[in-house]
Symmetry: C2
Subunit: 200 residues, 2 copies
């Protein structure tokens, strides 16, 4: 079976759980239930990796140092794009190279998603135009400015309207499970939730 | 106010959410509620950092590359020790330097905690003797072997009996909030949960 390449964008000032939550869920998903299947990649439907603008370590919020697996230049094709949020988003909203990479990657991907204030980057890249969407509660106003014709859903844990967006931080875990369920079925999502002991 | 040094042990084969969940919760906790207080460390009650046996990058489960802030040799005093789990635990159960570091650090710390199969390391270090404890469901039998006089609580999300232990992976987030509530009060824990949109 061809694996789904899940590319998680990371950057200086990314919120740790915004990227680590979906990373955990996708990287631990297995089509074969239980413990043993998690010891290999054999029945893993996703190939999960991080991507940053350039190689070399970057610093997430709180001071966690993470080295991306790939850069914009050498990433394999991304089928499922995940754009997390964090205070680092603010600077990236004015970075043409990042916005262009998101636009190009989303256009080639089967699915695009954001966690938390990552939705601001999708909005700035023009990807939320005309769609229902959500973000962290502190970013509602900014999202409305960046995508005036998006329909903001303030009370949703996540929104699925062609592009997937989630509310803040931990809501990215719920969105990740929704994506697993959509792409791999309910049983696979439930088994993965049981494995990581996440109450869906 | 003196900050609480929260040292999170990491190692090759650590489960991502096991360390990233508590890292997120402790590093985002603020005594002053809301968004703005999160932009600085001023009202942060915790100083959170990762510690590994040696310097240099290590690879967590799923292929996430993380560089520890400190090594066993140069870590600042740890007041709150967090020992996560993951497949990498198995090898560490036979590593005298790691077990000795855990024993020594726990002995000097005000509080010691584990997430998931990190409890096996605490058990092997003799820290769960006579205590109530829990771990990931797949590690119940191994924990009973390593700490035959510990009282295993199979249905608890986390256990607080001098040493804090949590169930698998995501349960570490619940334990982290319990720790925040214990050390900083209910309001601070609730505000942090609201900030990271985690339903406690």
């Amino acid at each position: 079976m061809d694996k789904i390449n899940a590319g998680i964008f990371i950057f200086d000032g990314v919120e740790v759980l915004d990227f680590a939550g979906p990373f955990e869920v996708f990287s631990r998903t297995r089509l074969v239930p239980g413990l043993e299947s998690r010891r290999s990649e054999e029945s893993a439907p996703f190939h999960v990796f991080t991507v940053a603008k350039t190689h070399g370590p970057l610093v997430a919020i709180g001071g966690l140092t993470v080295t991306p697996r790939f850069s914009f230049e050498d990433t394999p094709p991304i089928h499922l794009l995940v754009v997390p949020g964090g205070f680092g988003v603010r600077g990236l909203l004015e970075d043409p190279a990042t916005l262009e990479w998101i636009r190009r990657t989303a256009s080639a991907a089967r699915r695009t998603s954001s966690v938390c204030s990552g939705a601001l980057l999708l909005a700035r890249a023009g990807l939320l135009s005309g769609r229902r969407a959500t973000t962290h509660w502190s970013s509602f106003d900014r999202l409305a400015e960046l995508a005036p014709d998006a329909k903001l859903e303030r009370d949703s844990r996540f929104v699925d309207d062609g592009v997937w967006t989630s509310a803040g931080v931990a809501a990215g875990i719920d969105l990740a499970f929704h994506i697993v369920e959509t792409l791999c079925g309910r049983d696979v999502a439930d088994d993965t939730a049981r494995y990581i002991e996440y109450p869906r």
